[in-house]
Structure formats: C-alpha cells, structure tokens
C-alpha cells in the first residue's frame, strides 16, 4: 500500500514532497476531477444516517420530549453527552492549525486543513444539540439574550452563559481562520476550472491574485489568527468543563476538570483526525502529502493526552478517597463498581482511553493503517463513554437516594446520535470533494523555490 513506506527519519517529509509548484497544484486539484464510487457510497451512508436522525427528531417534535429517555433526575443525557463530544472533537483541529503553526511544527502542513474543516463541522454539529435538547425547537429564539422583552433576566455569572460566549466565539474564530487559510487555495481551484464553477470559486476567493499587498496582509493576519486561536483551544473546553465543575454535584465539582477536559478534547480530536484522514488518504491518493509521518505524530499526540487522561482519572479517585467526603467517595466508588448500573460504561471508558492506546507504544501499531484506524475508532467510542460517565452517573446518583434512577438512552436519542454523525460526515465529505482539503499554499512552501542561481538582489 502506498500509504506505508520506508521514510527518511532525518527528513521525514522529504521522500513524499512534490518536486514543483505545478505538481502540488495538480495533485490536489485531481480530487475535483475523479468522483469515485467509494466517495459516493460514503456520502450515501451519511445521508442515510442523517435521515435516521431526521426521523428521530420528527418523533420528538411530534410526541414531545417524553420519547427521549431523559427524565428527573437525569435531565442531561445523550444530547449533552454528544454536544460535549462534538465540541471536544473540534479541538484537535485548532490545536493542529494554530498551536502547531506558532511552534513551527512541520508535520502540521499535510493535515491541518482537513483538521480545521473537522473543527468547523464538529462545532456546527454540536450547535444542533441545544436546539434538539430544547424540545420545542420552534422557540429556539429564546436562546438569544437580547432584546429583553421576554424578561429573560440573563445571568452573565452563570457558566452556561459563559459557554454560549465561548462556543460562539470558538465557532466564529475557527470559521474565519479556516476561510482565510483557504483564500489562496480556492484561487488555485478557480484558475483550474471553468464556467459556473469558476465563477463560484472566484467569488469565494474574493478575487485573490497573489499580489505582494495581499501576501503581506495575509501573513500579518494569519499569525494573529493563530495567536488568538491558540488560547481559545485551551479556554473553550475549560469553559465547557465549568458547566459541570461549577455545580455542587458530587462527581462534577472538581478543580481538575478544565485541564482534564482539554486533554480529553485533544485526545479525541486527534483520534478523529486519524479516523477521517486515513480513509481520505487512500480514497484521494494523498499519500504524497499525508503519510506515515503524520499519522505517527498524531498517534504520539494521542499517547501523550491518553497519559494525561489516565492520570486525571486516577487523581479524581485519589481526591475522592483523600477528601473523606462521603458523597464524593460514594459517586466515584459507585461509578467503578462493575455490578452497579454504569460500571460497564466506566470500565469500557478505561479500556478505550487508557489501555487500548498503549498499543501505539509499538511502532508497528502506529505506522500501519489497520491498527491506526481500529485504535482511533476505539478512542472515539471511549471519549463518548467518558462524557456519558461524567454527565449521567453524577446526576443519576445524586445526594438524595430517593431520586436515584438508571437512565438509558431511548431509540430516539440513539437516532439523533447517529444523525449527528451523518450530518458531520456529510459536510466533511462534501468539503473534501469540492475544496482543497490539503493546503496547497503551505505544501508549496515545502518545495524548494525554482532558482536560476543568479541572485543579485
């Protein structure tokens, strides 16, 4: 398989670099020209998944929130779990595009565009969930704090309000950063297309022509976008964690939550990048640009963040034991009890997030497509289970034993979960087929510039 080959460890990107600017253009543009059966099949599966989600939502709109499994005291179930999951998925994209840009990490070049796209589409997916969870979705305008004729008494001291600001800022900044990076690459697509398609690309790239004024402003702005996006990665999931940590609920009320959530988000995001890019690389033959070097680095990122998560899980238990707080001890020991309601979910999480990724300590396992893909899929399941453990078990087993309740998602909730995966995949597949999912301009920067050798300037 072309994806896996012997690479020079002293200069890992070298063997797969294009030789010329034209070659990099041609390779990426080829994606537009070759509609494949596999891609069409993947789009079809995504549409079917969306249809399942649509059916589930229709049931909920018709019959009311009762068809969802959430009920007192477990009023936060699959919808909040999946919301946090998708927000987390987005984090690796911004990490790769912004933080790795600021530290001049060379391996980001091949994978950052697809990761950024993943961020934007993951946050788009997450943003569906407040509306889905609302039940009466036709009253979604009540989410907006102003104007105040509805006497909302919005509370800026609430972490839920912080979350609104954090996620809307995250989505806006990620989308702008993503679009700015795309401008010169869409111009390449415009100059290699014709007719209506050319006009559409022409409009989308805002008439980019690569003049020195454009590049000067672009490079100036790009650094600032990266500098803004980098702290945003760390802040957004910290704020999401405060949705839980600021509440006095046992199992939630912990100062370890922000770093623990951020590490988890990057862990799940990097695993999702592997899950998306491996098939894409094979499908679109991007192996010249995205290869073993990139996947191995992503696997190493997962290993690091998996270690941080394992440490965080252990710390939660240590703090629970050391605090001598009976409520704190109760919830943590109950969660881990294999015979208790959610013991299976806890141990599945531990297996997926702490044990399975250890296989990547073996070089063979992180340089071959099958183990890479399987372990990344296990991590994705594990990270969803982690949110399920945190969100559900704490409120199902709260302070008052009289209210204890075992929550299991209903068919409608599973349908919405499947639909959200379909919605995310649909946009990603569409993007990969119509826009440069590998950054042409940055690939060109890796190519030695053509010179005659007569430099006077």
């Amino acid at each position: 398989m072309a994806l896996i080959e012997v690479i020079d460890q002293n200069d890992p990107g070298k063997p797969n670099r294009p030789a010329t600017y034209q070659e990099s253009n041609r390779d990426i543009i080829r994606v537009l020209l070759n509609p494949t059966l596999l891609h069409s099949a993947a789009v079809l599966i995504a549409v079917v998944a969306m249809a399942i989600g649509g059916w589930a939502w229709y049931q909920q709109i018709t019959w009311g929130m009762g068809v969802a499994g959430i009920t007192h005291p477990t009023m936060w179930g699959v919808y909040i779990v999946t919301f946090v999951f998708w927000i987390g998925i987005g984090h690796a994209g911004t990490l790769i595009s912004a933080i790795l840009f600021l530290v001049r990490s060379r391996w980001r070049t091949g994978v950052y565009r697809a990761s950024e796209a993943m961020t934007v589409f993951a946050v788009m997916t997450a943003l569906l969930f407040p509306v889905l969870h609302l039940g009466r979705c036709w009253q979604a305008y009540w989410f907006f704090p102003y104007p105040n004729q509805r006497q909302l008494w919005m509370n800026f001291k609430s972490p839920l309000m912080w979350d609104v600001f954090a996620i809307s800022t995250y989505f806006t900044v990620s989308a702008v950063f993503f679009y700015v990076g795309l401008l010169p690459d869409i111009a390449v697509f415009r100059d290699h297309s014709r007719g209506l398609v050319k006009r559409v690309y022409g409009l989308l790239c805002l008439g980019w022509r690569g003049t020195h004024k454009q590049w000067h402003a672009y490079m100036g702005a790009y650094g600032f976008f990266a500098a803004f996006a980098a702290p945003l990665v760390l802040s957004v999931h910290s704020v999401v964690s405060w949705d839980f940590a600021m509440a006095p609920t046992a199992g939630w009320h912990s100062t370890i939550f922000p770093p623990y959530f951020v590490a988890g988000a990057i862990f799940s995001g990097c695993a999702m990048v592997i899950s998306l890019l491996l098939p894409m690389t094979l499908l679109f033959k991007w192996d010249k640009y995205v290869n073993t070097w990139h996947f191995e680095n992503l696997a190493k990122m997962c290993l690091l963040t998996s270690g941080i998560l394992t440490y965080a899980y252990a710390t939660e238990y240590f703090v629970g034991w050391y605090s001598q707080n009976p409520y704190e001890q109760s919830i943590f020991f109950w969660r881990a009890d294999p015979g208790a309601d959610y013991g299976w979910a806890f141990w599945l999480m531990v297996f997926c997030n702490c044990i399975a990724p250890l296989a990547w300590y073996n070089k063979w396992m992180r340089t071959h497509p099958a183990p890479l893909f399987i372990i990344a899929a296990i991590v994705n399941v594990g990270m969803w289970m982690e949110r399920f453990n945190i969100v559900v078990s704490s409120i199902a087993h709260n302070f008052d034993p009289a209210t204890w309740w075992t929550y299991y998602p209903s068919l409608v909730e599973w349908g919405i979960l499947v639909g959200s995966a379909g919605w995310f995949s649909f946009w990603f597949l569409l993007f990969a087929k119509t826009f440069p999912a590998v950054a042409i301009t940055e690939i060109k920067e890796m190519v030695a510039p053509p010179v005659k050798g007569s430099l006077e300037a």
């Binding site: 805002l206 590049w215 600032f224 802040s235 704020v239 301009t441 053509p450 005659k452």
Partner: protein, 183 residues
C-alpha cells in the same frame, strides 16, 4: 485604465530572477509596480517592505481593546439594569465571573477586526483589479512584475530593464492580459 498610461508585465519562472528584477527597478527609482507570487515568500516581503510589519496589527489591537471593553460593559450594564439576579451572594457587577466574557469578547472582536484589516490592506475583494493582474499563471507556478499604469515615456526603459533580468516574457499593452484555455 487611463489611456495616457501603459501596461507592462514580466513573467518569471525563477524566484531569484524576480528578485533581481524588483531590485533593479528599485535601484532605478521606478515604483508603481505589483509583484505576484503563487505562495508567500519572505524574500519578496523583505525587498518590497524592507522589514515593515503589516498594518493589520493595528486593526487587531483596536478589535481586542474594543472586545475587552464590550466584554465588561455588556454584562456589567445588563446586571446593573436588571439587578435582581444575585447568585451566590456575588456583587451585582462581579469582575471575576465577567472575566470569562471579557476574554471571549477580546478574542472574538480581535479576530473579526483582524479579518477586516486583512480585507482592507490586501485590497480584497479584488474583483476590480486590472485585467493584467488576473493572470492564472500567478496562482500556479509563475512570479510576475506588473505595471498597470506606467507612463509611456518610461515604458521602453522599464521593458528593457525587465528583459535583462531573466524574465520568461515581457509584454506591454493588451498583450499583458493573459487568458488561458480552460482546463
């Protein structure tokens, strides 16, 4: 284009030849040209801007300062206007919880102003650029130096100068407008 001016364009396949061309124009005290490239090269920035950073940074600073101000005033004035909510005994205008809103607004407005600055300083949207600059080779693999409105009396000198710098082609007038057959 003003009929009293003339277009001149040199197309290069090599970066060092382009830099030589720009350098010679500058040494001859000729200005008013646009350099085009398919990728950002610091050599071009260095020779065109001599280390001056982009003015986009002032937009960023303005946006960030406006953002932090709005991030404080929005919650503070809201709570001062409707002071009934006082969770956890916090003061009506509570700086610590508002810090999160201030931080997010700093990032949001800073980024949006940076985008506005990018559009302003790069001249985007560039739909109205001169036709000689709408050359598809410049997003592919070529570099270019283009005068969209050179004085006719300078045209011969500029053309001659550019021809000596290793340009693939030097064209004037309507010949500078390059239209390829669609791919």
């Amino acid at each position: 284009m003003d009929r009293t001016t003339v277009r001149i364009k040199a197309v290069y396949s090599q970066l060092d030849c382009l830099l030589t061309g720009v350098d010679r124009l500058k040494k001859a005290d000729i200005s008013g040209f646009t350099v085009q490239a398919p990728l950002p090269r610091h050599e071009i920035e260095d020779i065109m801007y001599e280390g001056r950073p982009s003015n986009v940074r002032w937009w960023t600073l303005t946006g960030a300062m406006l953002g932090v101000t709005i991030g404080f005033l929005l919650p503070a004035l809201t709570h001062a206007t409707w002071p009934m909510i006082n969770p956890g005994g916090k003061p009506v205008v509570a700086v610590v919880p508002f810090t999160v809103i201030m931080f997010e607004c700093t990032i949001l407005f800073g980024a949006l102003f940076t985008f506005a600055g990018l559009l302003f300083h790069s001249g985007l949207p560039g739909f109205w650029l001169d036709r000689s600059l709408k050359d598809p080779r410049m997003t592919d693999a070529s570099f270019g130096i283009t005068f969209t409105a050179a004085r006719p009396k300078d045209s011969e000198r500029i053309t001659e100068l550019l021809q000596q710098t290793g340009a693939l082609e030097v064209t004037t007038g309507d010949e500078t407008i390059y239209e390829v057959p669609n791919v």
